[in-house]
Assembly symmetry: C2
Homo-oligomer: 436 residues x 2
C-alpha cells in the first residue's frame, strides 16, 4: 500500500470475498460488517492519499473475537445472555487498532464467555478447523484462529486466559501470541478470570504479530531487534496429561540446538490454575447463574456451577502456589532467554470430543488442550505458539516463553523456528463443506 | 537506667514479682521464663556498664504473645496442637527486640491460633480483664493487653488481623498500635490470615509505642516529629452493629476539634473481611482440621469449618471490594491526616458472652468487637487505639488511622488525645481474685 500497488479498499474487499466464499462451513465469523469495513477502508485510502501514514496496520483488515467490545457492532460473548448486545464504546485494544488505521471487518466465534478451550460451544455454533472441518479449532479464540488459518484475514485479535490464543493457533496452524500480563489493557474485554486474562494476536507469522503487539500495547515501534544466539531451554515437564509422542517428536526437532531442561512441579499447577480460573470466573457469572441459568450453554453452566463450589481456602492456597511458581519461572528465565515446549499435547480432536487417548491413557480433552499453556498464564509471562510441523495432516504448534518485556526477542526468534521447520502444513485447501 | 538510677535486673525483678503477685486471676501469661529473663537482664546491665547502649529498649522487660516464636521458650499458639512446642529460632520481630536489648520475660495468652476477638478460648484458659476479671480482655492478644494494663510489663507484642491488638487495648485501657501492613516482618509469627496479619505493640502510652515500633520495623530512630495541627476527620460510619451511645459519646468528646465526616459503605466490609479472613485462615488449618479436629477448641473448630465452606468466588469478590475500599481510604487520607472513630462498639463484655445488646439490638459479640477495627486491616493502614474515657467503670478506646508511613505523626497525636481526656480510668487496682 505504501508503494501504491494495493489499496485498503482492495484488501478489505478480498477479505470480505474470502469470508463469503469460505466461512459457511468454518463458522469463524459471527458478525461481518461489510459496509462499515468498506467505509473505513475508503477513509484509510483517503488519508494515505492525503499523506497520512498511520503505520504498518494502516488499511489492514482485522477480525476481533466476539468477547471484545466494538462500538456499534454486535458483541455477543458467544452467549444468549448477550444476544443482540451492541456496545456503545470500543474496548481499549480495538480503539488502539482503529487509531493505527486497522479495519475491523467482523467479530469471530468464541467459546461461550471464552470459558472453554475446545471452541465448540457457542451461541452461533462451533468454529471448525480449516484443516478438517470435522475437528475443533480449539478455543476459546477459535474463530480468530480459523479466520487467519483460512486466509480470510491476515490478523485477528483474541484473548488468552489459559491458552485461548495459543491453543487454536496451534491446532489451526497459525501463530498465536500473548504478551505479558497487563501489557495490553483489558478494558472493554469481557472478563473470564481477571488475574489470568490476556489480550493476544493471531497471524500467519510471528513477524506479523509484532506491529499489532506494539499498537495494542501502546508502544512506539521497536528498533531492529538483535536476536543473536539466545539461550533456549527445551523444557521437559511433568505436565498432565502425557504428550502425544508424535507431537513431542515434532517439537523436539524444531529446537535442535536447545538444551534439554527438566522442569518438574508442573503437573500440580493444573489444579492451581483450575482453582484460580474457576473462582474468578464464577465471581463474574454468579448473578447470571442465579437469575437466568437457562441462557447458558448446558456444558458451560455445569462447569460454572462446579467452579462456584471451589472453596475459598483452595483459591488462597492456589494463589500461594502461583507465587512460588512465578519465582521458579523467574529463576529459569534468568538462566535462559527462551523456554520451548509443545503448545498442545495432541493435534486437533474431533468437534464434541470430551476425552481422548494420549500415550495409551484416556484423558479429558480440556486437560490435553490446556496443560502446556495454562502455566504461563499463572506466570503472566509472554508466550507464543508457532507452527512446527504436522501429525497426520494436522498442524502441531511449538510454544516459546520469555520474560516480561522481552516480547520483541521472542517474536524475532519465533520466526526462525518457522523457517527451520519444513513440515508445517501450508495454507489448507479451501474446506470441503460440512463434515459428515 | 542511663542515669544509673535503675538496673535492668531491678526492672525485670519488679516485672517478675508483679506477674507472680497479679497474674493468678488474670491469666495474662502462659509461660514465664524468670531464669532466662534474669540472665538477659544481667547481661544487659553488664553491657551498659561496658559502655554499650542499645537504645531505648535496652533492659526493658517485654511480654510476647504466644503466637510468636521464641527460641528455646515454649510457643503454643493457645492450642493443644502445639502443646510443648519449643521453637528453635526467634521470630524476626523477637530477634529485633533482643538485638535492641529488650528482655523477653514470658509469653502471653492468645485466643487459640489468634482466631477470635474475645480472648476467652485458649488451651490455657481465658485471659481476664484487670478492670473486672469477670470480663473479657478482648483478643486475640488478650494476655498482652492484660499484662500491660495490670502494670506487669511496660511493653508487650501482639498481632492484629482484624483488631487483635487494638480491641484488647481498648477493653483493657491501654494503647494498642498496629503499623502499616508489611512494616513489621511476620516471619516466625504463626499466620492467621496472611493478607491481613500485622505485628503490633501494646504499651501504657502512644509515646512508649514509638521506640518499639522503630525497633520492630528495623528503622533508625525518628527525629522529633512536628505534629502541628493535623486535619482530623471524625468518621461517622454505618459499621455494624450500632455503637453503644455512651461509647460514642466518649469518643466524640475526645476529638472536640475534629470535622465530622460521613463515611458510608463500611457495613458491607464486614462480610468482605469475613470472606478473606476465613478463607485464608482455613488455608492454614485445613490439614489440621482433617487430621486432628479433636485438638481444636470446639468453638474455634466450628468457626474454622464454617470458614472452610466459603466459596472461592466470594473470596475473589471480597478481594475486589477490598481494592475499591483501599482507593476510598487513600482518597480520604489525602484530605485528612487522621481519621478518628471508636475502637470497639461496647465496653468489655462478660467472659463467655456470645451476644449482647447494642443500642437496643441483639448482636453477636464478635461483630460488636470487630466492626470498627477490621476495615483498617483490609486497608492495611496504621491504626492505634488510645484510652479515651470510661463507661460504667470500664475503659473505652478511641481509634486513630493514618496513611502508611505516617506512623510517627499518628503516635505523636495519639498521646494528645490521651492528655485531653480526663475520664480514662487510671491503672486498675490489683484484681480482687477470681470472678464469681
Amino acid at each position: 500500500m505504501r508503494a501504491g500497488v494495493l489499496s485498503a479498499a482492495d484488501l478489505v474487499d478480498r477479505a470480505l470475498e474470502s469470508i463469503a466464499a469460505l466461512d459457511g462451513p468454518l463458522n469463524a465469523f459471527v458478525t461481518v460488517d461489510a459496509e462499515a469495513a468498506r467505509l473505513a477502508a475508503r477513509r484509510a485510502d483517503a488519508e494515505r492519499a492525503a499523506g497520512v501514514d498511520r503505520g504498518p496496520l494502516h488499511g489492514i483488515p482485522v477480525a476481533v473475537k466476539d468477547i471484545i467490545e466494538t462500538a456499534g457492532m454486535t458483541t455477543e460473548m458467544g452467549s444468549a445472555h448477550f444476544a443482540g448486545h451492541v456496545p456503545g464504546q470500543d474496548a481499549t485494544c480495538v480503539r488502539r487498532l482503529r487509531e493505527a488505521g486497522a479495519i475491523i471487518v467482523g467479530k469471530t466465534t468464541t467459546h461461550e464467555f471464552a470459558y472453554g478451550p475446545t471452541g465448540d460451544r457457542s451461541r452461533n455454533g462451533p468454529s471448525r478447523n480449516p484443516h478438517d472441518p470435522a475437528r475443533m479449532t480449539g478455543g476459546s479464540s477459535g474463530g480468530s484462529a480459523a479466520a487467519v488459518a483460512a486466509g480470510m484475514v491476515p490478523l485477528a485479535i483474541g484473548t488468552d486466559t489459559g491458552g485461548s490464543v495459543r491453543i487454536p493457533a496451534a491446532l489451526c496452524g497459525v501463530v498465536g501470541f500473548k504478551p505479558a500480563y497487563g501489557a495490553v489493557p483489558v478494558h472493554g474485554v469481557f472478563p473470564l478470570a481477571s488475574s489470568l486474562d490476556h489480550v493476544g494476536v493471531l497471524a500467519g507469522t510471528a513477524e506479523d504479530c509484532g506491529p499489532a503487539f506494539r499498537v495494542l500495547a501502546g508502544q512506539v515501534p521497536a528498533s531492529a531487534t538483535q536476536v543473536g544466539s539466545p539461550r533456549v531451554a527445551r523444557l521437559v515437564t511433568d505436565a498432565p496429561p502425557l504428550v502425544d509422542p508424535s507431537v513431542a517428536g515434532v517439537v523436539e526437532a524444531a529446537f535442535p540446538d536447545a538444551e534439554e531442561v527438566t522442569f518438574p512441579g508442573v503437573a500440580e499447577l493444573y489444579q492451581v490454575y483450575a482453582a484460580i480460573q474457576g473462582s474468578e470466573a464464577y465471581a463474574v457469572h454468579a448473578d447470571r447463574v442465579a437469575r437466568s441459568p437457562h441462557l447458558f450453554d448446558p456444558e458451560v453452566l455445569d462447569r460454572l456451577r462446579h467452579a462456584g463450589g471451589i472453596p475459598g481456602w483452595r483459591y488462597v492456597r492456589a494463589a500461594e502456589a502461583r507465587e512460588s511458581f512465578r519465582g521458579r519461572v523467574a529463576a529459569l528465565l534468568d538462566r535462559y532467554d527462551l523456554l520451548a515446549l509443545p503448545t498442545v499435547a495432541v493435534p486437533a480432536p474431533p468437534i464434541g470430543a470430551r476425552d481422548l487417548e494420549v500415550g495409551g491413557v484416556r484423558v479429558p480433552v480440556r486437560d490435553a488442550l490446556l496443560s502446556f499453556t495454562s502455566p504461563w498464564n499463572l506466570a503472566g509471562v509472554p508466550a507464543v505458539s508457532v507452527p512446527a510441523g504436522a501429525v497426520g495432516g494436522l498442524p502441531v504448534g511449538a510454544q516459546l516463553i520469555c520474560a516480561a518485556g522481552r516480547e520483541e526477542t521472542l517474536l524475532a526468534y519465533a520466526d526462525r523456528v518457522r523457517a527451520v521447520s519444513s513440515r508445517a502444513p501450508s495454507r489448507p485447501a479451501p474446506p470441503r463443506g460440512e463434515p459428515r
